[in-house]
């Protein structure tokens, strides 16, 4: 026997090993134990059933009749039971004592938290929310920050891209969310996938696009790297890194030059086209190929495809890997001038990478917003909340937490962080310098190491909850198992904190939180747990006019003109220079590992993640065979990547998916991020759209 090799005594007798450990099976249990729910990895919101045995989640199975996932799950969804069964949980409230942590009661830990926060003025307190929390938890955290601690310094972890999308769509149409609907993808004749590795990030939406393509839709991918969806598209515009916006401008210009825009739609439903038209003069045809890297005729052909289609959708990335607001503005304007907004099979669709990112903004987790994108600057809105909460609501907008952490002279002293998603803690030095940090979460997380108080919460299968997916679908996830060791669900914990801070919240069950949200939020007005408990959720706005929800934005019901978004005429395509001849792109790579904090608590997805790390232990930079030959390296040979701001030593990965003189680095290898990418503020600001000119040398 193998253990014999290590000279270990083996005894089979003695017994009771199993009894001391967690019980896996329950022979005494009966009952059909498939419980319906919503997958909580990405923003797609697929339906699944989890198998419950002996108060544990032991398996998962797709939901066949779910309108989005229709019986499919991705590699993450198929293994979610491994995460939900992990022993890597935070099980007891902890407070810092004698250099370590001490287990204490909730009462004591919450007392410490409240005492600490009360010491500081509101401008010195910050709340960093998680895009994974439920709507109810989101809302109560927002209420806690504003009503109990009087601060508007509240922001979502992973905040760059999605807010940009919401700003554009809200200004243009009044709807701060995806204009289209996943269910309508198969009705679109033309689909543009712009700068998103969608079959990795949101695989089931990618699948719907693939199915539409197979049924005849013209699917076009616009990207700098040959992604899977690029291979599955009918046309692929492989632009130079950073040239997305120029390519979109070239598409719009073609539609204008060839008089292909929907003139009737433009005059009846839109305003502000004149200002957008101004941009067309900035890109002469003879410069298109040189500046975008794609022949002008290819771009023109795609513009004609878009214009002549009866229905068209565009998908682009939101969240940490999002496009910048100006590029999103160009994309929206392109589809608006083509008349592809607010009709069946149409949609300008930002795709949220995380399960409740949309819900986070819906619940007002932003320094300047209350729920449903209601502005904090609107005195009537602030008063409505103050009256309902019986508390003053601070009206001056706050500052996003990461902005405060990056600012040396910020007043931030105390920080409350919820379920930090990334394995990498940004601004660790600034966080160490804070007087007080509290961490609230269900799973063990490196962020807790910085905390003075750690408060555990139940997981999402241990309490009723709702989540809002990327297409505004509010879905109910029923409680499936009991929390262990007296762990509190988020709503009870936040109520306890509020109580100690002098705010008596009187919720007796979590559904009452949603009732309060509905009273204060026009787009959620018709939502309640009982209405959501049957069926597969409702897409907001859910109100008197739309009691069953709103599948997609409808121009006929808009009651206003749609505005062209005010865009810039600045096109800074990062240029390769003599000393830095490669344009380095940064992205998610392979599977979208959610910064691996959750994935590291699974078995199969962790192995897949580790396989890449074992092949390329210090990370990799992807280059094409021609570049590899010029540098004189082969696959897995070490190279040095040098930028104006720093350098790193990694392995070369040789592949045909990038063009000559472009390179690709994955944003998930801890060493690469902490040693190199964190030195590049544009990466933190722009995520996947960031491009860094570099030199790559043989080591």
């Amino acid at each position: 026997m193998l253990v014999g090799l290590y000279n270990v005594k083996v005894s089979k007798a003695g017994g009771a090993v199993r009894d001391r450990q967690r019980k896996y099976y329950c022979v005494e249990c009966y009952g059909m134990n498939q419980k319906p729910g919503v997958c909580t990895f990405c923003g797609t919101g697929c339906g699944h059933f989890v198998g419950v045995e002996n108060n544990r989640i032991t398996r998962v199975y797709p939901s066949q009749n779910h309108p989005i996932s229709k019986g499919r799950l991705c590699v993450r969804g198929w293994n979610i039971h491994e995460l939900l069964d992990t022993p890597e949980r935070i099980r007891k409230p902890l407070v810092r004592a004698d250099g370590g942590f001490k287990e204490v009661s909730y009462d004591e830990a919450v007392g410490r938290l409240v005492d600490a926060l009360k010491k500081y003025p509101p401008e010195s307190i910050g709340f960093l929310a998680s895009p994974r929390s439920s709507n109810e938890e989101h809302y109560l955290l927002m209420k806690l920050a504003r009503a109990a601690f009087k601060t508007n310094n509240i922001s979502l972890d992973s905040d760059s891209g999605h807010r940009a999308s919401l700003n554009v769509l809200h200004a243009g149409t009044g709807m701060a969310g995806m204009l289209g609907s996943v269910e309508e993808i198969r009705k679109a004749e033309f689909i543009l996938v712009a700068g998103i590795d969608i079959t990795r990030q949101n695989p089931i939406i990618g699948s719907e696009i693939h199915m539409a393509e197979r049924a005849g839709a013209m699917v076009v991918t616009l990207d700098s790297r040959r992604t899977q969806i690029a291979k599955l598209s009918k046309k692929f515009l492989q632009v130079k890194p950073g040239a997305n916006k120029l390519a979109v401008l070239a598409l719009a210009k073609t539609i204008y030059d060839e008089n292909l825009s929907d003139a009737a739609f433009l005059s009846a439903h839109t305003e502000g086209f004149e200002k957008f038209r101004h941009a067309f003069g900035l890109l002469p045809d003879n410069e298109v190929a040189d500046r975008t890297g794609v022949p002008v005729e290819e771009i023109k052909a795609v513009a004609r495809d878009l214009a002549k289609s009866k229905s068209a959708m565009v998908f682009f990335s939101s969240g940490i890997s999002g496009l910048d607001e100006d590029t999103i503005g160009y994309i929206y304007n392109l589809f608006l001038m083509a008349g592809k907004v607010g009709k069946e099979g149409c949609g300008v669709n930002p795709v949220a990478g995380l399960n409740n990112l949309q819900g986070g903004y819906d619940m007002g987790l932003a320094p300047d917003l209350l729920t449903g994108f209601q502005s904090l600057a609107d005195a009537a809105v602030t008063k409505k909340f103050a009256d309902a909460w019986k508390a003053d609501v601070p009206s001056a907008p706050g500052t996003p937490v990461y902005e405060m952490l990056s600012n040396q002279s910020s007043k931030l002293k105390a920080l409350v962080v919820v379920d930090h998603d990334e394995g990498i803690v940004r601004y660790a030095d600034a966080i160490k310098k804070l007087d007080f940090v509290a961490y609230v979460g269900a799973f063990k997380n490196p962020f807790a190491e910085y905390a003075h108080v750690v408060l555990p919460v139940a997981t999402y299968v241990q309490e009723d909850a709702t989540f809002t997916n990327t297409e505004r679908r509010i879905q109910f996830s029923m409680k499936k198992i009991e929390p262990e060791d007296g762990l509190l669900p988020g709503w009870k914990l936040y109520s306890m904190i509020a109580g100690k801070a002098g705010q008596a919240w009187k919720y007796t069950k979590v559904s009452e939180v949603m009732d309060e949200i509905a009273r204060l939020t026009p787009s959620y007005a018709g939502v309640s747990h009982s209405k959501l408990s049957t069926g597969f959720g409702m897409q907001w706005p859910v109100d008197e006019k739309n009691p069953q929800g709103t599948g997609r934005f409808d121009v006929a019901k808009a009651g206003r003109k749609l505005s062209f978004y005010k865009v810039s005429d600045v096109f800074e395509v990062p240029a390769a220079k003599e000393q830095f001849p490669f344009l380095l792109m940064v992205g998610k790579a392979q599977h979208f590992w959610h910064q691996n904090n959750l994935m590291k608590k699974t078995h199969i997805p962790m192995r897949e993640y580790n396989a890449t790390l074992m092949d390329y232990p210090e990370g990799y930079v992807e280059i094409c065979p021609q570049s590899a030959k010029e540098i004189g390296v082969r696959d897995r040979w070490p190279v040095r990547v040098v930028s104006p701001h720093g350098e790193m030593r990694v392995a070369a990965k040789v592949s045909d998916d990038v063009k000559p003189n472009t390179a690709y680095a994955p944003y998930f290898v801890q060493e690469m991020i902490s040693r190199f990418l964190l030195g590049h503020t544009e990466v933190l600001r722009q995520g996947e759209d960031a491009t860094i000119p570099v030199r790559i040398e043989k080591v």
Binding site: S11, R22, P36, Y61, P62, P87, H210, R607, N610, M614
Partner: protein, 355 residues
């Protein structure tokens, strides 16, 4: 063969009687979503023989998605380890198994039990089992068992087989255990005329595939030849591989897929204690075929897809299972985000042959 008749209204008695000795599993319809699951029955009356083919194969009864197979405790001071295998030995009755799913289980038997090494964990799941199959008198939309020799009626491996003859079920015993159990139920004996009636029903079911089983036109035999001999062009596999999302769904829903992963999980509340888990695994995952040292014989996704269809369609694999590895249930086509379920793959390979 011992044969009986049982009135439709009484057919529930079979599961009820089995419930005295066995933990009963069967097809049930989940009320909220209308989805059929093959699962453990709280109330045996919930078992619905008329339910559509279950969304999940019964594989999870003998080969759970995640199970502990061993618990161990290492005492560092004594350099000693206590090990306890964890087997589920309770008797189980599967009632209303579809013929394709039984064929899948026979493949699993031959993989886990029929080779040089016998898998103890599987053996303990399987050994005290009573199987009642249910003839498919009408096919479902995605079925193609007639192309894989696994239906619409089971021919081996059951204890009892039920066939809906209209007002009553024909109950055929396929084993001594089955005959002895049926004898206890005090049923009306059946004769050759009922057997003829069953044949009529089965023939009619086969004739209905043309109109009902429209999702899957899988002409398997010709493709088996090609896959076995390896004469499928690289670009066909690349075309298929490009569409693979590497989710693993096809393997998880396949009644005959048997690959698994082993993981040791430390118990944070008990120093030195660990659980050894066995979980489903999939050849579509890159890490699955990766070897220590980094070599991966099937690194490109198309090579991994090629492997799966070799398992399901090649003659060399048939020698192991004594039947085709594919049982024609059509579930892989249901769950595939890339639309490359086995019937489509067969179509793509055939398209090349006919070209």
């Amino acid at each position: 063969m011992t044969m009986f008749l049982i009135k439709k209204a009484d057919v529930g008695r079979i599961a009820q009687e089995l419930g005295r000795e066995y933990r009963v599993y069967g097809p049930m319809i989940e009320k909220g979503s209308g989805q059929t699951f093959f699962d453990r029955a709280d109330n045996v009356a919930d078992i619905n023989l008329a339910a559509p083919i279950p969304s999940n194969p019964p594989k999870s009864v003998v080969f759970p998605q995640m199970e502990r197979i061993l618990a161990y405790e290492y005492d560092r001071s004594k350099n000693a380890v206590k090990m306890e295998p964890d087997y589920r030995i309770e008797p189980k009755a599967l009632v209303g198994l579809r013929p394709c799913d039984l064929a899948g289980m026979l493949c699993l038997d031959r993989f886990f039990l029929g080779q040089e090494f016998v898998d103890e964990v599987y053996l303990n799941h399987r050994k005290k089992m009573f199987i009642v199959t249910n003839t498919c008198v009408t096919p479902f939309k995605q079925c193609f068992c007639v192309c894989t020799d696994s239906g619409p009626a089971a021919t081996e491996g059951f204890d009892l087989n039920l066939t809906d003859l209209g007002d009553e079920y024909l109950v055929e015993a396929g084993s001594e255990k089955g005959a002895a159990f049926a004898a206890k139920l005090d049923l009306i004996p059946a004769n050759d005329s009922h057997l003829a009636l069953k044949k009529e029903k089965v023939d009619k079911s086969i004739s209905m595939f043309e109109d009902i089983a429209v999702d899957s036109k899988a002409w398997i035999s010709r493709v088996m030849n090609r896959v076995t001999t390896g004469f499928v062009k690289e670009d066909v596999w690349e075309y298929i591989g490009d569409q693979c999302f590497e989710c693993g769904a096809c393997t998880f829903v396949c009644p005959s897929c048997s690959c698994f992963n082993i993981a040791d999980v430390n118990n944070p509340e008990c120093a030195g204690c660990a659980d050894r888990l066995r979980t489903w695994d999939s050849c579509s995952y890159e890490g699955y075929s990766r070897m220590a040292g980094g070599h991966n014989p099937r690194k490109p996704v198309e090579d991994r897809r090629n492997k799966r269809f070799f398992c399901k369609l090649s003659y060399s694999q048939m020698k192991k299972y004594l039947r085709p590895g594919c049982v024609g249930c059509g579930r892989c086509a249901w769950v595939c985000p890339g639309d490359i379920g086995l019937p489509n793959v067969v179509t793509y390979v055939r398209r090349e042959i006919t070209r």
